[in-house]
């Protein structure tokens, strides 16, 4: 197959499917998120990174512009598709997180698969929605220790769950050999073998 620039239908389909796999897993584990929520200690923020891990894994696998955004949109609408719940704020958050991931990947010209790049993208995605949360949840009126706890748990989760875990999963998927024909690495026969 000749190498084509831009996203092909196959690229988009693979991206969406990766996002939906995470949506399914996330939905099956939805209980965890709910169990962690009470008492308001923000323990649920620890798994916050799971929301945008799809964008990171999809980017690492396909490495083309637009992939992170599509993956994020698919992951956000995944809740609607799998659990039949529609939450508009989720979709808007997802699009914002996807856009900021795109921005980070653009800086590295969609080439780098380095761990630091995806950790940066994870942190950026964790940070981007904080202003929205600030207005939506009146975070300015929270006791400061609770606020700092929430911020640090979320950034930690963006770096570790989305960035590091995303990278670990990418390397493991690469070892299985399914990435041979996929994405911008397809012309390079040694890549992904």
């Amino acid at each position: 197959m000749t190498k084509r620039k831009g996203l092909t239908l196959t690229d988009v389909l693979i991206t969406v499917v990766i996002a939906l796999v995470f949506a399914v897993i996330y939905s099956l584990w939805d209980g965890i998120y709910t169990i962690l929520q009470p008492f308001g200690l923000h323990l649920n923020e620890l798994v916050y990174g799971m929301w945008f891990i799809a964008a990171i894994v999809a980017y690492l696998i396909i490495r083309k512009p637009g992939v992170a955004l599509i993956a994020e949109f698919a992951a956000a609408s995944g809740e609607t598709i799998v659990l039949l719940q529609f939450d508009i704020s989720l979709i808007m958050y997802g699009l914002l997180q996807g856009l900021v991931c795109e921005l980070i990947f653009l800086i590295f010209k969609y080439k780098s698969t380095h761990l630091m790049v995806v950790v940066m993208a994870g942190i950026a995605a964790a940070l981007i929605t904080l202003p929205l949360d600030w207005y939506y949840g009146y975070l300015g009126h929270l006791e400061s220790w609770n606020l700092i706890l929430m911020f640090s748990l979320r950034i930690l989760s963006g770096a570790v769950v989305a960035g590091w875990l995303g990278h670990v999963l990418y390397r493991a998927v690469k070892e299985t050999g399914v990435l041979k024909f996929i994405g911008s690495s397809s012309s390079d026969s040694t890549e992904g073998l």
């Binding site: 239908l9 990766i18 796999v21 995470f22 529609f86 508009i88 999963l169 996929i182």
Partner: protein, 263 residues
């Protein structure tokens, strides 16, 4: 999808999905800018009313859903109720201190979530998910390759779920033979995700090639299902905007509680 639990259908079913999504965005922006808990309370009542009347879902299912929406709304705002700033102390226990201000603010945040969930539930009950992608293609001219890959991927979700279940059973059967770390714990989670992803990529790749060769990425096409805008869209828009407007009026003229600013 909900035909079995639907008692009747209303004009909302004929409303274009894009209209509904756009209204949901407007509603989201609106609730962020409303700081009067009274207004939010009235808006919540209106949205509850719209859901009950327009969805046409049997009441026993609606009640279960409503319980779920209200409880999860309250749980998600607990952080504010427990740890919000305030001066009039109501309850103190260890690090938890509930003040009047934080309680009102917490309920305010919970109501925001509940309003969006109620409207979201109305959407789920009245929109067919494929129609969303058809109207994205027909009305918004989104390229067919995006819409069709989404629709194809959605069809794969049951496969992914059954594969996950199969994997879990396979691990259960072999539990005695393999090292415990590979079943539970981080390694167990990792192998599960990697298996699911690699299988799905393989399947998506095959399907993608097949769809491309059948011309699904070609942009000039006709559609079997047609979506359009109609007078029903106008009715629905007017209904939702009127609810917001009346809620704002009622919130300032007939307040339920004395506090008019949750901040």
């Amino acid at each position: 999808m909900f035909e079995a639990v639907k008692k009747y259908s209303t004009f909302t079913d004929q409303t274009n999905p894009l209209t509904k999504i756009m209204l949901a965005v407007i509603l989201f922006v609106t609730v962020i800018f409303i700081h009067n808990p009274n207004t939010l309370f009235y808006l919540m009542i209106f949205m509850l009313f719209l859901l009950i009347v327009l969805s046409g879902i049997q009441y026993k299912y609606l009640i279960i859903l409503l319980l779920f929406i209200f409880i999860s709304g309250l749980i998600s705002s607990m952080y504010m109720i427990f740890y919000g700033e305030g001066t009039t102390l109501l309850f103190e226990f260890g690090i938890i201190n509930i003040t009047e201000e934080s309680l009102i603010r917490g309920i305010h945040v919970a109501m925001r979530g509940v309003i969006l969930s109620l409207f979201g539930a109305l959407l789920i009950f009245t929109v067919k998910i494929t129609d969303v992608f058809y109207s994205l293609m027909i009305q918004l001219k989104v390229k067919a390759k995006y819409a069709y890959s989404f629709m194809a991927a959605i069809r794969m979700v049951p496969l992914i779920i059954s594969e996950y279940m199969q994997l879990r059973q396979a691990k259960k059967v072999r539990k005695a033979l393999i090292y415990k770390k590979h079943i539970s714990g981080f390694k167990g989670i990792k192998t599960t995700i990697v298996t699911l992803i690699s299988q799905s990529i393989r399947r998506a790749y095959r399907l993608g090639i097949a769809m491309e060769s059948k011309g699904f990425s070609d942009n000039k096409r006709t559609y079997y299902y047609k979506t359009s805008f109609s007078k029903y869209d106008l009715y629905f828009i007017l209904l939702v905007l009127a609810s917001i407007w009346i809620a704002i009026l009622l919130g300032s003229s007939i307040p339920v509680i004395n506090i008019t600013d949750a901040r």
